[in-house]
Amino acid sequence: MKNKNILLRVACAIALALALAANGVQAQERVTAITNAKVLTVTNGVIERGTVVIRGSKIAAVGADVAVPAGANVIDGAGKFVFPGIIDSHSHSAIEGSVNEISLPNTGMVRVADAMTADDISPYRQLAGGTTTALLLHGSANAIGGQSQIAKWKVGRPISEWIVADAPRTIKFALGENPKSANFRPPAGVERQYPATRMGVEEVIRKSFIDAHDYLARWDEYEARRKRGEQVIPPRRDLLMETMADILRRRIDVHSHAYRADEMLMLMDVARETGFKVTAFQHVLEGYKVAREMAVERIAGGTFIDWWGYKAEAYDAIPYNVALMVRNGVLTSVNSDSDELARHLNHDAAKAMKYGGLTEEEAMRLCTINPAKQLKLDHRIGSIEAGKDADLVIWTGHPLSSYSRVETTFIEGEIYFDRARDLEMRKQLAKEKAELLAKEQKRRTE
């Protein structure tokens, strides 16, 4: 009896193992090869007539003389260009109506990941522009905003799958006109909130870190006394202070919205004094004025290439900003901050060739490997290399050309946008819509 039971269990285990293995094999062996295409690897030059082999979710091989594995699904890329999925280092898509927790000067305890939705149409439109990954940030209404989330646009999949699980934790800071509420009037009956000046913004950030040091000291004292065997009540846990402490422990990267040069220098000073690190300045419109300081502190910059003049702090923004930052050794990306611009970040990358004369390769990096490095995911995304995620885009022409458009977008080997498929889907949607309208019409007349 007992033996039989064991046998049964063993049989079940073997069957399960086999099933799992079969599944695994199936997933691993789903192989796609894009052949005859011009492959812009970004990190290893251009392959004029190359093949990219995708096995499962990863790039298995890339090169001019790569054999197409037997049984592979072959996509003929003749005349086409293959480029890495574009990475947007500043996005607010898929955060339905929850971009700004506006109620306090420091809301570092809140998390964008808690407010993400999978039904925003914007990510799909971005896939049609070649964008596959984005840093989803809290807004810039407060000096210290919420914690950001890195996600891939896996439209159609549950939101939990969009989240890049092994991505670093990041937080949004903001300097200048937005956190001092220069351009917004509070609703009637609501008082204007502190801070109202750049002085106040500096104070909020500085005080937050000084408080965090005190918070850590309280815990250290508590631990020390507890270890000595004293009967002590633990300090009260504070989620905001936990966040600030994690920034000090380098467990959360700071990406700070900043426009003016002086406020960037201010944050560098506060960081030095209180012991945290700024990973990147976002927007960084006057980065070109302090590019040297940024390079010394190894602070990256993500910017719009040519937005200017929409506020006073954007009046000195110049399209040569990217080139000057790159030439000074700043790790630079172009980003969108916009559902619209996120559809053509390739244009912005190309503009860095026009404004300041970056090379084609430098320009391509601005929307691929450079943002990947800023997000500390360059081991997975940002270039076409064997072993990296198969986040790939097939373009009709060079992605830096304004005449090019996207044909197919892959994330981790799966097709999430395909123009032919989209055109088919439109017919289906039109039919469905007509049927629904007819049904409603009928219901009303009855």
Binding site: G97, I121, S122, Y124, R125, A128, E177, A182, N183, Y288, K289, R292, D306, W307, W308, G309, Y310, K311, A312, A314, Y315, D316, I318, P319, Y320, L324, D339, E340, L341, R343, H344, H347, A350, K351, M353, K354, Y355, G356, E360, A363, T396, L400, S401, S402, Y403, S404, R405, D422, R426, L429, K433
Partner: protein
Amino acid sequence: MRRIFALVVAGALAVPMLGQSVIPNSPGRKPAFAIRNATIYPVTSAPIANGTIVFANGMITAVGVNAAIPPDATVIDGTGLSVYPGFIDSGTTIGLVEINSVAGTVDTTELGTFNPNARADVAVNPHSNVIPVTRVSGITNVIVSPEGGVVSGQSALMHLAGWTNAEMTVKAPAAMMVRFPRLRSRPVGDVAPEADAARKQRRSYREEIENLRELFRDAQAYAKAAQARAADKSVRRFDRDLVLEAMVPVVEGRLPVTIEANLARDIKSAIAFADEFKLKMILVGAQDVAQFIPDLRQRNIPVILGPIMTLPPREDDAYDLIYSNAAALHQGGIRFAFRSNDAHNARNLPYGAATSAAFGLPKEEALKAITIYPAQIFGVAGKLGSLEAGKSANLFISDGDPLEIRTNIRRVFIAGEDIPMDSLHTLLYEKFRKRP
């Protein structure tokens, strides 16, 4: 001269200051130039390889392979370069806004609903920093259009150069700008709609259109009275009404009306309205335009598309709805042009045109829609929009296809004057590039 620019810039960045060095509409002699060995794109005829273009006194005098170069002409070698007519942006707020968030610098939007007597050309700041930033990208002419209300005011076609508004002005008014009333079916933002919100919105929408109709009927009556008085001085004198007076050329069909309407139901209403008052209509914005090709063709209504780099208006729209409109108009035989509907980044106009080409519009058509077609639509094809003898020398030299982002614009001429390639942006670039 350039040194003066640099000093002024260094002195006061908050004050718009980049002076204009040219006097496009001033009489008198202007230097002669000849660009030779260049590929010339006249736009209205086939490209000319190894061609020469000659201009003097602000006018193009010859274009061709064997065009004679006058002895006094400054000769520019165009080897490896291309010459194009200056781009025309069919809708901007250039000169009406310096910094959007600073109210004191914004003159786009007059108060009230009907402002036909508001004139863009009188409010354009000829010394705005936006002007040099835009023209060094090859855009030599723009429609400056008021915004706001329903009848926003009179737009003007301007050169992007000149010491005064008058020197900048090519044609004013160019058109009467009307932002057609819109029926908003959904509440804005997260606010829950009132129980009878939809009914209220429909009523106010009908009222808006009825009020607009009344304005046009009053203008018709005013025009009639003015004609009667002009023909017969014994007709009783009446006080001038500047609002109605501004409307007279509109209701008499002499001045085109640019009617901005984007969604299908608004375009439909706008066309019906233009029919009712026999307007010389130009449809603007026109996001749902592809549904109206036969209506537009039947009435010969041209269309100004743009901005192209914008999101479709509804969630369930095709992602390329806006990108594909130009191809649909081209296939339908409708005359169209592009606008940026911007000031600071009007310079990106050619890339919207190129994106339309990525979605089915022939490249040559994309080029025409920012050169000769807007000139035709606004009635200045005799002066602007192509490289032909007798036209104003508004042109630029580039090192490639100017609809490609990476292409550089090397020289710009407006009404024959050599435009400095400086702007606030190049000056800040040069200044900080040299930071020790």
